[in-house]
């Protein structure tokens, strides 16, 4: 009896989970994208902007952890904090005070570094209009089935973002860049996150479809930094990204958390500024968009109900073998290169020999001259 109840429980559980599987499978195909890209940009230099680098690196870390490979991440860091000589712990960038979490790690791949992080390079990366000599790691090779995550952090203002202390990108430029990307079919859906002061101004001008934007603060508000570390001496993270990182740490590749959860990250009580978001250009319902649609990398799995009998073909051959009773030579792999010939035999060198006619002619002439010079009387000594 007990066994029966156990079995029935197991059966119902299985059926329930199988139904879940169907649902999950169904959900896999609702987003319409086949690959994921991430463009993570830190636009500030100098040691006191440590937190911007830490912001970008923490998003990088999450995105990598959730499955996007380095080949699909364009990481742009305007300054090197890990190897800055003011860093008391070199080769580390911490996001939590007391050095709890090193977001630098040992497999960071920075694609644009230092002075390469410029407005022009950023826009060229987005639109794909790079010189032919640009290596693949510096290119955003997305297609119309790509979901792209774009994360910007730095110092901003109403309608602009400061790059490298010397230039700015405006929200109009950014919107036009996204429109170019849409027209060139360079994205399926794009998630734009910006953590700067007055960040919401940057997504005000977007007009291309399938864009979702989040910002850390509204127009007129400043995004604040989270906490300083007294040993390092600077603020380690910005508030919004700090709580974003906390949120993302709970996400795993098969998580079902959706965008609505993302909008709830860092409420005013924690962030002091009011995070904003924009979903009017997004064609799907944000509730149906998973976090992993943008922060992770999807693997296409095709579920099939067919079963393939693997043993049959071999049997077929054996039957033929038995039936025909012919002596077949054993099959073996053919060498791609005639290795044995190369190793064991030296190529036979064809020696050049002067043609016989030449030798004959030459020596006849020499003999003729000899006899002409010294007279024919010598001939009798030879013949």
């Amino acid at each position: 009896m007990k066994i029966l109840t156990l079995l029935s429980l197991l059966a119902t559980h299985l059926s329930a989970s199988s139904v879940n599987i169907e649902e999950n499978a169904g959900q896999f195909f609702s987003s319409g994208h086949t690959n994921n890209w991430a463009v993570l940009v830190c636009t500030s230099r100098f040691w006191f902007n440590y937190r911007h680098v830490a912001n970008t690196l923490s998003v990088y870390r999450s995105v990598k952890r959730l499955g996007i490979p380095d080949s699909h991440i364009v990481l742009m860091l305007a300054d090197d904090m890990a190897c800055n000589h003011r860093n008391p712990k070199p080769a580390t960038v911490f996001s939590h005070k007391n050095m709890e979490l090193n977001v630098y790690g040992d497999d960071v791949e920075v694609d644009y570094r230092g002075y390469e992080v410029t407005v022009e390079n950023f826009l060229r990366v987005l639109t794909g209009r790079l010189p032919p000599s640009t290596p693949r790691s510096k290119r955003l090779l997305s297609d119309d089935r790509s979901n792209i995550l774009i994360y910007l952090t730095g110092h901003g203002g109403n309608g602009f973002l400061k790059f490298q202390d010397s230039e700015e990108i405006s929200n109009v430029e950014l919107a036009d860049a996204f429109e170019q990307m849409w027209q060139k079919r360079r994205y399926n859906e794009l998630l734009f996150i910006i953590d700067t002061c007055q960040g919401a101004s940057m997504y005000e001008r977007f007009y291309s479809p399938n864009l979702m934007a989040l910002a850390s603060s509204q127009v007129g508000e400043d995004s604040l930094s989270h906490q300083p570390d007294l040993a390092i001496g600077v603020h380690l993270m910005d508030r919004y990204t700090f709580y974003l990182l906390e949120f993302l740490e709970d996400i795993h590749p098969s998580s079902k958390a959706n965008m609505n959860d993302l909008f709830k990250v860092c409420p005013k009580s924690q962030c002091v500024s009011t995070p904003g978001h924009r979903t009017d250009l997004f064609l799907r319902d944000p509730g149906s968009a998973l976090i992993t649609d943008f922060f992770g990398s999807v693997r296409k799995v095709e579920i099939t109900m067919e079963t393939i009998n693997l043993t049959e073909p071999i049997q077929q051959v054996e039957q033929n073998f038995v039936n025909e009773e012919r002596q077949k030579e054993t099959y073996s792999y053919v060498d791609q290169l005639p290795v044995s010939e190369i190793i064991h035999q030296k190529p036979k060198q064809k020696d050049w020999h002067p043609p016989d006619g030449f030798i004959l002619g030459l020596w006849t002439l020499i003999l003729l001259v000899f006899f002409k010079t010294y007279g024919m009387k010598h001939l009798k000594h030879i013949f």
Binding site: Q349, K350, D351, W352, H353, P354, P355, G357, F358, G361, L362, L365, V369, K372, T373
Partner: protein, 433 residues
Amino acid sequence: MAAPLTLLLLVAVTVRAALYRSSLADLISERVEVVSPLTAWKRVVEGLALLDLGVSPYSGDVFHETPLIIYLFHFLVDYAEITFMLADVITAVALYLSVKDYNKQVFRKQKYALEADRYPLDCLELIRSPKEMQYIPLKVAMFYLLNPFTILSCVAKSTCGLNNAVIALFVLSTIKGNVLLSAIFLSLATYQSIYPLTLCAAALLYLLQRQYIPVNLRRFSFWWFVAQYAFMYLGSLFVIVGLSFFLLGSWDFLPSVYGFILSVPDLTPNIGLFWYFFAEMFEHFRLFFLCVFQINVFFYTVPLSIKLKEHPVFLIFMQLAVISIFKSYPTVGDIAASFIKHHKASSASSLNIFLVSCVLLACSALFPVLWHLWIYAGSANSNFYYAITLLFNVAQILLVSDYFYAFLRREHHLSHGLYLKRKDGSEATLVLK
């Protein structure tokens, strides 16, 4: 005479063998002063290797020697050192024999002149006696064999040694009076490098005089002899070129050998005058200056042969010197060939032999120094090296003109007496205009 010659040959062969065994052989065979793109041994080996791989040795700008050299070294490549030593030995023996023969003729002519009372009385001391000329052939052979330039050229296995051997054999056969052999050796020499063509006139003059055919443009016998010689020369040249064609089955040795010599495409620095000029010449003028430079070599034939028609052997040596200065890729081997004229015992009348020899020595020493400074240290440039090249060639030209002057002065003294007087009786000196 055979014993000292044999001793000399042994010494020379020993010196060369010793240098072959030492580590200097590799060093010397790479010096640009000793080997040129025409004569380098490295290129011969390269050409033979290409042939073994089934490719024409003249493809690519590697090999610029004649097909007969290919034939020769196809069998002798393992004995290359012995071949080159043998070539030097042949050159020395040929020179020895030719000078001996020539001395005999000089004495004969002198005897006739003395009997005919053609010499003024006060220049009897200028007349050569057999006693003082006894060691001249040996000295000539010694000069050639123990000349550092020759030794360097032999140790570097430069095919210039073979060229010198053929020229020496040509000189020997000319002086012996053998028309056919002279024509054949001259055509061989011309076949290898075009410039011995200028020796044609000298050989013709000598052979004409030997056969007592007067050198008179209006006489039929003169032209008949010239036609005979030209026929033999050109015929053997064509035969040799045809044989070369049959050796490799193609004509591409013609642009590689003769085109290379005449059009000077390779501007590696050497001790000649061509490379610097053509390195900085505009393409527009290149053909013009090429013609000028090449004509310069052949140009001195006519005036020299007119002036020296009584002394064709001296003419031969003058021509050799001119060739070695003005040819497109000279090496020290050619210089060695041109120093053969040192045996003339007229150094008493020459003006500044000492100065010129010092300049030559200094330049020879400075060549490797400035090369190192230019190429390796980077503190000099091509102008330094070219300056030394220029100086070397100027010294050579001065040497040639010195000897010319000495020779002419001696002849003048022999005909007009040792103490020259102007028309009014005061003392006069000879000046070479």
